[in-house]
Symmetry: C2
Subunit: 561 residues, 2 copies
């Protein structure tokens, strides 16, 4: 009969590699059927139970206890295995390669003063402290550790930005700096495509695919999954974009993340639009505003992002420069868009496109709950109205037939000094008003006479066969000084250029010295990997301060300050 | 001093065209500055107030009262204008063109028995009744009216489907049947592209753009905005797809809507995948699973949907037939996907892609709240797990370094008879496990020996330069009978074909006789437009039953049944 026996070690610190290797070594001993070596979190206890490894004793372990369980063919085998634990841990200790190991980051920095990077992969509760020490030493930080607080992340990144340093992470799995992979990274050729990615395997999938397609990577920055939260404000992503914008070795930029916070999206898109290079964007799962918007190319999948990056390079850049070379109109204070639509789907598509570039955006056909316009009769911020919605059409013809409501709202919006641009759709065809321009164009001319600064954009949907005669319609609107478009995406690009506030992002410039030299604190295989790639590196023989005792740690920290 | 005077008419029915024309006529009278003729809904009262037209009397009007307000230069002018109302309404009445007008739909059907269509644009509360009468007469219904209840919509559409009839709408703005535009429709050439669209101006924007690009339309079905709600189940959309699938004049299909209900998405995508023609899909704002998935092409914008439709025709069909000609594996009972990912972004992208084709789908990295997996340790339905999430990595190495957790979960999933396919990612590169296939491939071979019916799909991310040697990794997985992919989208297509239940959609076939002949009940300009396009049509001189009195209407309805 098989027997599971366990041992609990409270308070001891071992790194995860040691634990994995101990589990494998135990499972390989004679008479041992299975083994588990884990921190005794509730999830891990459940996992042990699923494997038939949960002993009665194990159930009493606390989340920060180390739990060692062995399932043997009999109790003697299990007991024998458990008696080997100390020796197995010791054997592991002596198998390392690096002869002398500094015990602290400061000592390592003295040993290898030319190191610009510190890789941190110690447990989360210690990681922010190590990262802070690295910044104090003037080093960039690759912060692999997770379970770092948001407050620590914000403080570390703000400090780094002010010093012209990078903090990639926390929970940053991968980066490629000057041809050397940090953490998890595929070996790819160097080239002209620069990457900024929040997430680890997203960056790996894209960089691998670029390599497999024959392209190469200049630099690849990981930022950690929370960088695009509103609280962090995409500090590292903006730093990466700015670096790549000015990097002579980068021709094309790829920006990847899960859907960012709305206000972060508009900031990033505005920053990307100011870069005189093509930028491929894949906010995975965020509906793209268009396929192409000037120098911005929106991808649907990671693979497509890679394909676009390689294709954009091959295509050359004339295609998008045409659009970006138009001068940017920027205004000192925010001026708002007011979209007065007769078409519901056109209004909805406008919200979809504009939410990526204008903020705050409100609508009576919102895509997200925050976009819901409180009172459809009163615009606020950037507003897109579908005037064909039920509230506007009770006992009244659809606005495609009856212009009365639009004419009144047009005058109302023009009277609002916050309005910078009015956007109208004009849908021609059977059933629609026989001559919408006849009523709308004079009203546009009238409001523009009072407000010469006010831009009016008209999107015309129609064909040469429509009863209204699309060309005559366009002539009338042009005579009223409206800017005419027949494609929503062209209108979108025009509106973006007209209304976006073009921020300066005053980051201290970042220097990435070559070749890469690094100090590694934590997972030892990252050190091995650096050495394997020909980089110079030192492994720090890190132990938690005060043996991991939280109270003593707090005391030490206070003494230090 | 200007004076606003008003008149309230309770209970009277006028159609919206009459009201618009009355307002214009009043505003054009001498001494009149502005006029408003509206149903006295709260929104309309607010709108009147914004135009300075809200009299004290008007505030007392009820929502179903007709309110007539005139602002005159003085009270005499206003009073004179109001005294003209009856005469203006009378003048309008006699200006119509059609000499004899049947008073009922039944009479119209006798007058024009070859009519297959009834256009309904009477006020919402009367519309379902008229549509029901039309179905009883064996006619297709174009239901322009809004404010029809969801219950009525479901009942009308189910009735229609059983009879091989279409109900387009309610709130259906547009359609093009046999070259004739119904409701709002642009004049476009006939051609080989068939459209199904929930929304009015979406269909107009796409059909216009196709025409402007040189393409043409075979048929364009509107369905109304609620057709893709779970309750309605996309009855009309499925009917439209099935018609176009079998229509010899249609080569390419375009499907457009706002984001449908999740279970409706998977049903539509499965139906579209069974069509032996390219299908362009734009669920506006719904993140597409890929750019192309076999015969499905996902567009980002309305304009792009049109461009793809025209380009797909020009490209020919070899490109996608390659994929769809693989035989479809369908299973009599549902079998589930279990995705065990080491990469968070790859897991997230898998959820994004698979949510369009598999239902119900759960994950610990959900995109929508309903996808949240209750217990990450227990799979349910189709499940995608990111095993690198915090709960799995406390005190444990990342699954890209330590395969232990994946191996145990692999065996757990294989032991579940509901599991039909296991999907693993293997991310190679620096820092990752030195030989993942060495541990994973034997485990795959072992579970497949017990379960020969179980499919195992492995997605490999890596390059030829990676330390693990991607080719040797692939050889080991192939030897274990895993199906290998290096691109997520190819894996997605394979999984779809393997797991999708291919429903038969047993709709009664629909006949669209040519030329189009129609009866119009409601907005008269739709009748004018039909005649203008050369179609045969009759305008019904419709009046609400019992003069619009709800109680009498109910009584009449009961007497009829």
């Amino acid at each position: 009969m098989t027997v599971a026996q366990s041992e609990i070690r409270a308070g001891a610190y071992y790194d995860s590699v040691v634990l994995m290797q101990l589990q494998k070594a135990l499972a390989g001993l004679p008479g041992v059927l299975d083994a588990g070596v884990v921190m005794a979190t509730p999830a891990n206890l459940e996992l042990l139970e699923a494997s038939g490894l949960l002993t009665p004793e194990a159930k009493t372990a606390k989340a920060d206890d180390l739990l060692i369980v062995v399932k043997g063919e009999d109790s003697a085998a299990a007991a024998h295995a458990l008696s080997q634990v100390n020796e197995l841990l010791q054997r592991r200790r002596t198998s390392t390669s690096q002869t002398f190991r500094p015990k602290s980051l400061a000592a390592a920095a003295k040993q290898l003063p030319q190191a610009q990077w510190v890789l941190v992969s110690v447990p989360g509760r210690f990681a922010a402290g190590v990262a802070r020490d690295a910044l104090d030493l003037g080093k960039h930080v690759f912060l692999y550790s997770d379970n770092v607080s948001l407050a620590d992340e914000i403080q570390l990144k703000q400090t780094a930005r002010d010093k012209g340093l990078l903090v990639m992470g926390p929970d940053c799995g991968t980066a490629i700096i000057n041809g050397v992979g940090l953490g998890f990274a595929n070996r790819v050729r160097r080239g002209r495509i620069g990457l900024v990615a929040a997430a680890g395997t997203g960056l790996q999938a894209v960089s691998s695919h670029i390599h497999n397609l024959g392209g190469g990577i200049s630099q690849a920055f990981g930022t950690g999954g929370r960088d695009l939260k509103a609280e962090v404000g995409a500090i590292t992503t903006h730093q990466g974009l700015q670096f790549l914008a000015h990097d002579p070795d980068t021709e094309v930029i790829v920006l990847i993340s899960k859907p960012p916070a709305p206000q972060v999206v508009t900031g990033l898109v505005a920053a990307a639009q100011q870069i005189n290079k093509p930028v491929i964007i894949n906010f995975i799962g965020y509906p793209p505003p268009a396929r192409q918007l000037g120098n911005l190319f929106f991808a649907t999948t990671l693979a497509e992002a890679a394909e676009l990056a390689v294709a954009t390079r091959r295509l050359g850049t004339e295609d998008w420069r045409f659009a970006t070379n138009q001068s940017l109109v920027s205004s000192p204070q925010p001026r708002f868009l007011r979209g007065l639509f007769s078409g519901g789907t056109l209004a909805y598509e406008a919200v979809l496109g504009l939410q990526a570039v204008l903020s705050p955006l409100f609508s009576n056909v919102p895509i997200t709950p925050e976009q819901k316009l409180a009172d459809p009769l009163v615009s606020q911020g950037h507003t897109i109205l579908d005037l064909g919605e039920d509230i506007f059409t009770q006992g009244r013809l659809h606005p495609m037939m009856d212009n009365d409501l639009r004419l009144r709202r047009l005058r109302q919006e023009a009277a609002d000094p916050e309005t910078g641009l009015i956007y109208l759709d004009v849908v021609l065809g059977e059933g629609a008003h026989p001559d919408p321009a006849y009523e709308l164009a004079p009203a546009i001319a009238a409001v523009k006479q009072n407000r010469p600064d006010l831009a009016v954009v008209v999107l015309i949907i129609g064909t040469d066969g429509d009863p209204q005669d699309v060309n005559k319609q366009m002539e009338q609107f042009a005579a009223a000084n409206a800017t005419l478009f027949r494609h929503p995406t062209e209108a979108l690009l025009h509106i973006t250029r007209h209304l976006t506030i073009h921020n300066q992002y005053p980051h201290t410039p970042i220097t990435l010295s070559s070749p890469l030299v690094a100090l590694n604190v934590g997972v030892e295989s990252f050190y091995d990997s650096l050495i394997g790639q020909g980089a110079e590196a030192v492994q720090v023989e890190w132990r938690p301060p005060a043996g991991g005792n939280e109270k003593l740690m707090a005391l030490l920290a206070r003494m230090k300050n």
